[in-house]
């Protein structure tokens, strides 16, 4: 005798709809059963896990000091997962001393070797997991396995390896990334690459220089951006060579990096870069000039205040506001530019820095300027608007203001 399913199946095309109805009801029942069983199973699993986490936490110190034999937990899958997760989480939040202790534990228990092996042997998401765990450990012996991950065909794996290497934050990891990208080309999106390189080269930015000299665009631009972030005073002369580079990113990097160098070395170059045709190069130059805190930068900053780009104007204004001892003359010089956008940017920066009151007091107390000019400056400060063209023409530019320009 044929089963009910066979009978249904043999009903012919006219009964297609009936079969579909049965299929839909079966699907509903299966979905419901799956959801409910899964819930019940997970509830049981997490109860068990919580209990075990609590027990292991009670013996945590004995566990990581090795007093509890490693074999006691390593051979049990659940325990192994819990201990590793707890150790990695602790490592993320620990200071140098605790980190060293945890790292020693991970090494002695063979967990790092296990992850290195998995990162090399596995594929897909299991390799991803291993790479992330290696990154968390920051163990130098994991660098080569992570570097191999950079050469994987799957972009997800490459990104996980890159993040892991970035987490290492060591020059060796940086060297591996650079060598890999130089060899394989830019097969990783730029932003994660920059982030990883910044973390790895912050300690020794010099490792970037040979690659910058020989790399081609777009890798060279990425390196330029990284250099701009990690440049230190020791790189000063090396940065100068990039100030005239044809790649905008490198000029911007030079501009950014020069803020860390000596004023004498940086001033002329930054002033030059403040006229660059590319807006973000000018922006970097203006920001760096602002950071130099040298009054010789004021003329360039004043020019920056009249820049076509609003971000450049705003940064120039922030730089000018930082000269608290010369607020009056600078304010007069800002008005003398006759640029209402520049004035707007300056007043905004002044208010954001809570220095408007200070400028008012300085203008009030100033003996270097005439009463007429004082009233004129106070009026602009109050209204935020430039005086009319006629008033500006008749008002002569005082000597101390002209000197700033």
């Amino acid at each position: 005798m044929a089963s009910i399913f066979e009978k249904l199946w043999n009903l012919g095309p006219a009964a297609f709809i009936l079969k579909a109805i049965v299929a839909a009801f079966i699907a509903n029942a299966m979905l419901l059963a799956f959801i409910l069983f899964r819930r019940a199973y997970r509830k049981r699993y997490f109860t068990r896990r919580d209990k075990r986490v609590f027990e292991l936490r009670q013996n945590w110190d004995a566990l990581i000091s090795g007093k509890v034999p490693y074999t006691e937990w390593r051979n049990k899958t659940l325990d192994l997962q819990i201990v590793e997760a707890m150790a990695l989480d602790a490592l993320e939040a620990s200071g140098p001393e605790e980190s060293a202790r945890l790292l020693k534990f991970l090494r002695n228990s063979g967990l790092i070797e296990k992850r290195i092996c998995e990162a090399r042997q596995f594929t897909g998401w299991r390799r991803l997991q291993a790479l992330v765990a290696l990154g968390c450990t920051r163990a130098p012996e994991g660098i080569s396995a992570l570097a191999e991950g950079l050469r994987d065909g799957d972009i997800e794996v490459r990104l996980a390896a890159l993040r892991g290497l970035g987490r290492m934050a060591s020059p060796q990891a940086g060297e591996e990334i650079l060598a890999s990208v130089a060899e394989m080309g830019l097969c990783i999106p730029a932003l994660p690459l920059q982030n990883a390189l910044i973390q790895c080269t912050a300690e020794r930015p010099q490792i970037l220089l040979p690659y910058i000299r020989h790399a081609e665009s777009p890798f060279r631009e990425v390196l330029g951006r990284v250099l701009g972030e990690v440049a230190t005073p020791s790189l000063g002369p090396d940065l100068l060579q990039f100030a005239e580079d044809e790649i905008d990113e490198l000029r911007a990097a030079a501009a950014r990096g020069l803020s860390h160098t000596k004023v004498e070395l940086a001033l002329d170059v930054l002033s030059e870069l403040g006229h660059d045709p590319t807006w973000f190069v000018r922006l970097r130059a203006i920001v760096s000039l602002g950071k130099l805190s040298d009054r010789r930068t004021i003329p360039t900053l004043l020019r920056g205040l009249t820049d076509a780009n609003r971000l450049v104007r705003f940064r120039a204004a922030e730089g000018l506001v930082a000269f608290k001892t010369e607020m009056g003359p600078i304010f007069a010089a800002v008005i003398a530019t006759r640029d209402r956008y520049g004035l707007h940017a300056y007043l905004t920066a002044l208010e954001n820095a809570h220095l408007r009151g200070m400028l008012e007091e300085e203008l009030q107390a100033s003996t270097n300027i005439s009463e007429k000019e004082k009233g004129h400056l106070q009026s602009v400060l109050m209204t935020g608007a430039l005086p009319t063209e006629d008033a500006a023409m008749t008002a002569e530019i005082p000597e101390h203001v002209a000197a700033l320009r």
Binding site: N28, I35, W125, P189
Partner: protein
């Protein structure tokens, strides 16, 4: 006449079958994508993202209109978000109550001359204020523009960050929502131009000081049915469409966009009814016309919780407005249909929206009318009718339970057994009469739009302050 009725009934059957098959295909794609996303999440430790040196700044734009009761809680919630480079721009959209005054008192606002370039159309701005308590807070006080789009445009004009996140000020974002939504952008900022997060139903959950304390299922049936709808729309629909880079809607309650591109397309269309849908459609158009490589992504784990209508009248108004918004966007985009330059958007996503979203109420209501007519005339096949009903019901239930399954295997926010059982129970009850009412509201929306009612009408909500009482 009888012939017409037969054709109509069969058309309805095939239409319904096709629509459900499309959803089934989306369910399969979404389950697969979610599983992959879950595995990938393990390699994105949020603490690593937070420490990323070049993390791009984001400005959140939160329009507020007559929200004196909840605005302070909402602002504090947004300022508490876990993201290192954050600016919050609250746009007071001509509130007639004390929205600005309560913010002034709470956050010590002072007038500033922040950068404001009126590139995008918006009503007149009365003033800009920055908080002395938290310098990340900028308030744009403007005259009422009559739409959310107008308010967001004012925020966009004051924006300096490379990314903008647009939220509703009465929504609750989970603390790590911004970090999570930025993951695709951090991976590939050149290609990913916008990301949508998931919006979920806040009703019934416990809120304290603007933070979600406990997720619970709402008590009212009408709210629970909306929970299923939201799960289906986000965890199945958007997940699947985004997989093919055909995501057409990023919810106005929570989405991140590249600021320069939003500016390039002229910001929000100030008279748009469905402003969120309109913006994404114009972004697709712009990117395709410029022949630029791009991706618009959906990430299901950054969560935004929003209040949904809790009575039929408000729900009806909301759905009518959504339908008006759909028509308001699809009609101007009709020249994108089946044009090679618009690729899969013109040949697949938009035709789907026309056929299965815009025309759905027309087809279904017409179908119902013809079924009733056929029954009255005695030409309705009893077997056909019952088979159609049972099949439609069973198939639609599969999709609804599938969306609950998606929630269960991925984010599992309803921890209470009772909640899950209720949610599953409602999967069997949402098809009648709710679905028919829903279609009627949508048809009403279309009718209003065609009669020239293009006004954007905000919905009345209880707000965050009241959510605590749940």
């Amino acid at each position: 006449m009888i012939q017409i009725l037969h054709i109509s009934n069969h058309t309805l059957f095939w239409y319904y079958l096709l629509s459900n098959l499309a959803y089934l295909a989306m369910l399969i794609i979404a389950v697969k994508t979610s599983a992959r996303h879950q595995r990938r999440l393990g390699s994105h430790r949020l603490s690593w993202i937070r420490e990323t040196p070049l993390i791009p700044p984001i400005a959140i734009i939160a329009p507020a209109h007559n929200e004196e009761r909840s605005i302070c809680v909402a602002v504090r919630n947004l300022l508490d978000l876990d993201y290192p480079e954050l600016e919050l721009i609250v746009v007071n959209d001509g509130s007639e109550d004390c929205t600005l005054a309560v913010m002034q008192k709470e956050f010590h606002l002072r007038p500033v001359r922040a950068i404001y370039v009126p590139e995008m159309k918006s009503a007149r701005v009365r003033g800009l204020y920055r908080s002395d308590v938290d310098a990340r807070l900028l308030v744009v006080d403007k005259e009422a523009g009559g739409s959310k789009a107008d308010a967001v445009n004012a925020g966009l004009n004051a924006l300096t960050s490379p990314y903008v996140c647009i939220v509703d000020s009465d929504s609750v974002l989970e603390r790590d929502a911004l970090l999570r939504i930025m993951v695709p952008i951090l991976e590939n900022p050149k290609r990913v131009i916008a990301v949508g997060g998931i919006v979920r139903v806040l009703n019934g959950s416990e809120i304290k000081d603007g933070q979600l304390q406990r997720v619970r299922l709402p008590r009212k049936s009408i709210e629970v049915i909306q929970v299923i709808e939201y799960l289906r729309a986000f965890l199945i629909g958007r997940e699947a469409w985004a997989q093919g880079n055909m995501l057409m809607i990023i919810s106005g309650a929570f989405g991140v966009f590249r600021s320069d591109l939003v500016r390039s397309v002229g910001g929000y269309r100030s008279r748009a009814i469905g402003e969120d849908f309109d913006l994404v459609t114009r972004l697709h158009r712009y990117m395709r016309e410029q022949k630029l490589d791009y991706e618009i992504r959906f990430v299901p784990d950054p969560m935004c919780w929003t209040e949904v209508p809790s009575d039929l009248k408000s729900l009806g108004r909301q759905r009518a407005r959504w339908q008006k918004g759909l028509l308001d966007v699809l009609w101007p985009s009709r020249n994108m249909l089946f044009r090679v330059r618009y690729g899969r958007i013109g040949s697949f996503a938009l035709p789907y929206l026309w056929l299965f979203e815009l025309f759905a109420p027309v087809v279904e209501i017409t179908g119902l009318v013809t079924i009733i007519l056929a029954a009255c005339l005695g030409v309705l096949s009893g077997a056909f009718f019952s088979q159609f009903l049972i099949f439609g019901y069973a198939f639609a239930t599969v999709i609804s339970i599938g969306s609950v399954l998606q929630e269960e295997i991925t984010y599992k926010r309803y921890n209470d057994w009772q909640d899950v059982v209720r949610l599953l129970g409602y999967c069997f009850f949402e098809h009648f009469p709710y679905r028919q009412m829903h279609m009627f509201w949508r048809l009403q929306g279309m009718w209003e739009y065609l009669r020239g009612d293009h006004a954007w009408k905000p919905l009345k909500r209880k707000g965050l302050a009241s959510a605590r009482a749940h």
